[in-house]
């Protein structure tokens, strides 16, 4: 029992595990869609590029893509830090900086998407 308790609760990390996989599936799908679309009708100039991005469903797909990237990046970087940054103060500071940085990127992405 002591051994079990020291290992933490059994479901810890399941949410992160699932988020990492769900976001990866979405990003994979989106990237394949974007590559297929852009090879069939390449954005040769600014107008074509902007027109594609302005379409309602494409913009929503981009929004979900950027959100997925940020979530995926958060879970991934956090697990790298958990494994390789051992002093608590270092792990805490780097994790905090990453969280703030990703939040800033999220706000920036929102601005681009709403422009």
């Amino acid at each position: 029992m002591r051994r079990v308790r020291s290992a933490g609760s059994a479901h810890a990390g399941v949410a992160e595990w699932l988020l990492q996989r769900v976001t990866s599936l979405y990003m994979g799908g989106f990237v394949i869609y974007a590559i297929v679309h852009l090879s069939l009708s390449p954005a040769r100039d600014h107008a074509a590029w902007k027109a594609w991005f302005a379409t309602g469903h494409v913009r929503i797909a981009w929004a979900l893509f950027l959100a997925s990237i940020l979530i995926h990046a958060w879970v991934g970087m956090r697990s790298i830090y958990l494994d390789y940054l051992h002093p608590l103060w270092l792990r805490f500071s780097v994790t905090l900086l990453t969280a703030l940085g990703l939040l800033a990127l999220a706000l920036w992405a929102a601005r681009i998407l709403l422009a």
Partner: protein
């Protein structure tokens, strides 16, 4: 779990560490033949496994343990650890992932400016078409493709596809080959 599957292919001989529940390579860790995979190393060093202490006893070799339990040496010298191809791919997955995160602000900057006005769009397109620009694009494509294919491999291992030892090694090589193929294809298209 993906990393565990990845580094220790089933069938590999492992002993269970009775205290931490951590798999430990059965081979003796002598100076020359310190064969070790990175998974027990990761476990030993992570706080979550409850390792109370770890200290260096000689070059490339540490002791870890908990309380009264037996101390055992673990090789930390990466040059003395022979990692299977899946392990290398797994580390590369992390490295490429971290690199892509660092690239995010640049990507957002380019996205924002490419949407701004025709002149900026043309400038970005011209930049990407220069030899240096093409090289940068190819490197980014390789990093992304590598992360993509090792990620796909992880997802497949999660659902139990290709997780036998020979299959896992084969599709690790396949992930390398696929990313290089994507780079070659991009190079042709550029």
């Amino acid at each position: 779990m993906a990393h565990a599957l990845n580094v220790h292919a089933p069938g590999e001989r492992l002993a269970r560490d009775g205290i931490h529940g951590v798999p430990v390579g059965t081979k003796r860790m002598d100076a020359a033949g310190g064969r070790f995979t990175l998974w027990p190393l990761r476990n030993f060093l992570s706080r979550r496994q409850g390792v109370e202490f770890a200290y260096i006893i000689k070059e490339g070799c540490i002791l870890t343990g908990m309380g009264k339990n037996k101390k055992r040496p673990v090789y930390l010298n990466l040059f003395k650890i022979r990692l299977p191809v899946g392990g290398i791919l797994s580390i590369l997955h992390r490295a490429t992932g971290a690199f892509l995160v660092l690239l995010l602000p640049i990507a957002l900057y380019i996205l924002q400016h490419s949407l701004q006005d025709p002149a900026t769009y043309a400038k970005i397109a011209a930049q990407a078409a220069t030899p240096v620009g093409r090289l940068v694009v190819l490197v980014i494509v390789w990093v992304f493709a590598q992360h993509f294919f090792s990620g796909v491999r992880h997802l497949l291992l999660d659902v139990g596809i290709g997780d036998s030892k020979p299959a896992a090694r084969r599709n690790a090589w396949l992930a390398f080959a696929a990313s290089l193929a994507v780079v070659a294809l991009t190079g042709v298209c550029l």
